[in-house]
Symmetry: C2
Subunit: 137 residues, 2 copies
């Protein structure tokens, strides 16, 4: 189940989940997507690029993620120019799995109340609707 999937361009109310990790920051859709893409593409640089993120930003996010958990969630492999490969560690895979499970459980639990809220939303887009979404959410 991917509660995020049908969101863009749709008027259906949908949940976005952020898990606050106390003093270790927060885990939201941007960081999780970056982790998933690193797992898929085997490269921090490529994953960042796929998300329209600068090289520097992707690497800073990876560093902050690795510091937030007991063990690294992303393993960097040394390489030549442009960086070597990278992959999710076992812990990284578990973290992504937990986040997606939380997201799915929350979406299911909130479904009826979301529909109530949806029925109150304007049919026309608000003229000032901005989406200041960042990967650090």
């Amino acid at each position: 189940m991917t509660p995020q999937a049908s969101r863009k361009g749709s008027d259906a109310a949908a949940l976005t989940i952020r898990v606050d990790l106390g003093r270790n920051g927060a885990l939201g859709p941007g960081k999780i997507r970056l982790m998933e893409l690193i797992g898929k593409l085997g490269s921090i640089t490529k994953a960042g690029k796929a998300l329209g993120m600068s090289y520097r930003r992707a690497w800073l996010l990876v560093d902050s993620l690795n510091q937030a958990f007991r063990e690294p969630v992303i393993a960097k492999q040394m390489g030549g120019r442009g960086g070597g490969g990278a992959k999710l560690t076992d812990l990284g895979q578990r973290v992504v799995g937990s986040y997606r499970a939380i997201e799915a459980a929350a979406a299911l639990a909130a479904q009826r109340e979301l529909e109530t809220l949806q029925s109150a939303v304007a049919a026309k887009p608000a003229s000032r609707s901005r989406r200041d979404r960042t990967a650090s959410e």
Copy 2:
């Protein structure tokens, strides 16, 4: 139940919920808190100030909220210098209630998985843990 209450300064993983309203933006803890404080304090300016928000920002958020729903969620009463009073409309009260209900249902549904995630979090704070939280989340 207020899942937000014990978050700050704690290491317990906690959820933050954002409800995406399609083309009408998103509803997160900042806007909901602003609405609750307007209801309590009877003033947009005072509510904004209580959240450390500029006068301008609080009013812009109120305008965007009022445009996002079928009817206004905050009623402004005309007044003298510094603005008149303001209060939540019936719809505004229902929107706040729905959001808090979604938050509570999601927290309950995700509780076990959150504990799993929590057990993977570093005991010491990450050196780079920033909380870029804004009211527009």
